[in-house]
Symmetry: C2
Amino acid sequence: MSRDRDPIRVALLGCGVVGSQVLRLLREQADELAARVGAPLELAGIAVRRPQRHPEVPAELLTTDAAELVGRPDVDVVVELMGGIEPARDLLLDALKGGRSVVSANKALLAEEGEALATAARDSGADLYYEASVAGAIPLLRPIQQSLAGDRIRRVAGIVNGTTNFILSAMESTGAGYADALEEAGRLGYAEADPTADVDGYDAASKAAILASLAFHTRVTAADVYREGIRDVTATDIASARALGCTVKLLAICEQVGGSSGDAVSARVYPAMIPKTHQLASVSGAFNAVFVEADAAGPLMFYGQGAGGPQTASAVLGDLVAAARNKVIGGRGPRDSAYAHLPIQPIGEVRTRYHINLDVHARAGVLAAVASVFAEQGVSIATVKQEGGDVAERSSTLRGGREADADDAGHGGDAGTDATLVVVTHEAADAALRATVEALSGLESVRGVASVLRVEGLGRPVHALGGAQ
Amino acid sequence: MSRDRDPIRVALLGCGVVGSQVLRLLREQADELAARVGAPLELAGIAVRRPQRHPEVPAELLTTDAAELVGRPDVDVVVELMGGIEPARDLLLDALKGGRSVVSANKALLAEEGEALATAARDSGADLYYEASVAGAIPLLRPIQQSLAGDRIRRVAGIVNGTTNFILSAMESTGAGYADALEEAGRLGYAEADPTADVDGYDAASKAAILASLAFHTRVTAADVYREGIRDVTATDIASARALGCTVKLLAICEQVGGSSGDAVSARVYPAMIPKTHQLASVSGAFNAVFVEADAAGPLMFYGQGAGGPQTASAVLGDLVAAARNKVIGGRGPRDSAYAHLPIQPIGEVRTRYHINLDVHARAGVLAAVASVFAEQGVSIATVKQEGGDVAERSSTLRGGREADADDAGHGGDAGTDATLVVVTHEAADAALRATVEALSGLESVRGVASVLRVEGLGRPVHALGGAQ
């Protein structure tokens, strides 16, 4: 019966890593897809830049004129797998304005132009789906937007970038420095030739913008997301984390903060230490995991492969089936509901915790000086640990006839003796923490700041599998 | 603008643990829900058995006549939270035939009458949603039915019952026997006065039927699900598991088995040992976790609270928003697509692994006799371990002047000396494994079968957070 219905005509934009998998799945699962949609899916055309690179695609489907393809009156759904802001933006706006539904995997575009696209869809009655733009194969946007449509989401946080996750995992397991780990990632196919989008956090920031927009019914663009990548994560950072029983992860954190009046949205991406006992700590390599906390549902976790051709194609096809079905029955996808218009909380106001590793001179007054800086900023200290400096340097003080006791900052007086001071703060405004670090680096007794990392998940209820609940 | 639209009228059937939470959320979130639906949600009435027990509900909404409420022409969506097969079945069939969409949390009903309900919905154009019937707050049905609509699901497996999970966790952590752990569960509110539905696996079997039906596009009813509960799980089982580095969980496992022709569906519920390193091993208490494996998406995991008033209400409201929105815009939910009509694989043909703990006489020939039984059934042994019997009994053999060496089954000859033989098999047809156990218990040298448990997840690729991927 499904085959008697008029086919749903699909235009595919791009046929690369993901597009070729979409094409394969459309072919291999044609009958199943028809049964699930209620009508056969038919390709109207595939727009690519270089047709000669696609010998596996029937020539009559190939075109270099994406604009023409998108404008054909017989096209029902446009699947965009090109990436990049332009020309995807103009093509998709044209498609939506013409009433053609859109399925996209384009995180950068959705994070920047989500509003314009949603408006065009709403006005024409077309659908706009983009599950594939975040977290690869993991169903995440549909749960947030639809399953939790009757709940109040408070927080969406997790690991959404496989490249940086792989690099940090490698640094941890092998002790390698950032540069070496990045090279290994490239060699193994986890990083692209130009890894900037991943390692500088742009990819994660786009995804955070999309997640926050849906979770908090507020337009959040990539520019609204505070972003730090992993270029400055060092082997010392990794070792510091290990000493604290933590591991370093690039986290995307989206929260609704504040009270019932004066709510705001915080969205940020940065590398942070998390306890090894936390569920996110054991997510490695290309896997992603995202926690969603909602008032009634409580804590939820979604886990799976966050990237890859087949994985992303799975998400694309799920959306395509939904869009195609709506064309068959005359239905529509979920209502775009960015009605809340919450302000974006500046990073300075976000309450975070810092782990600070200082190289200091082991002399009288250092601890007092350091502690005073924290006090001036109103930052409360949770833990502090001082460790002696280099043994050779300690030995050199013996020649002067005085033992330098590296465990007592009040002793000695030899300017060559160093120590390490490790401080973990309580929660404080990020601006105060940042000002604290600045002031510390200016202290005479501080030789340098060896490591600064935010700390997440320490001391909060850990929704660990099997942990405190 | 949303408030100018005609309200969507909702009939609530039942106002217990879940219904009262649905009522609360409808009130507290009225504005947000209206923004997300595109029209206000209005309660048409609430059907309960004893109105006097609901002083918090406006009297004008209460009715004892559910059939009348469901038949009112102004009702758009019926939310059923009564539970049980009847009268829910007739009420929902009436609602659907009249074009009223249904949102249900009724696992027993959906597992038994899913086909009749789906047919009524399809014929009238009404929606049928039942996310809340499985895994509480965790979005699971929508991901399976919609997000993975373009993929081929191979396996859905995990922990879907919090009562039994709590009991088994308690037995493990305290060494308590089943009866004591069950009593503790009741005391803490994890088990009902009559815990049969949970401890005998009926709850899990209903959920497995629903999951398998959606995952494999084949009608699977509760009766199709092989079901073993946890009543016969002993402290010995738990200890045996621990010795193997495993833990015991009640698992629901749904798989598509066989080749491209001759595919079949396997759906089963039973307690099994799983490696402590497996992600499911650390899911404790009221939390559920379900793995979904699909061809393109790969392994996915969904985790969260599987029961509770607010948690289940979250799932109900997500479906209610979807159903209400479809009423506003004239759309429809996902197409019921049980087109595959795959046969159900009998449990005897399911390939499983057994862990068998035998009390044996420590005499010559025991191991040979036992091994022969396995050989006769064609069951391959993976590991075998023999341990000596009771020290007092060993000491008693010394009086006879002969040392009984408990580590060597070929020694001794004293009929009072016992030993333990622990065998873990390779995969074999469950029927062969069951026949093996039967034959073993009939051996003269076997005093008794101390423990038999299936083993899952051992030796397969473990999609552990951080484990082999």
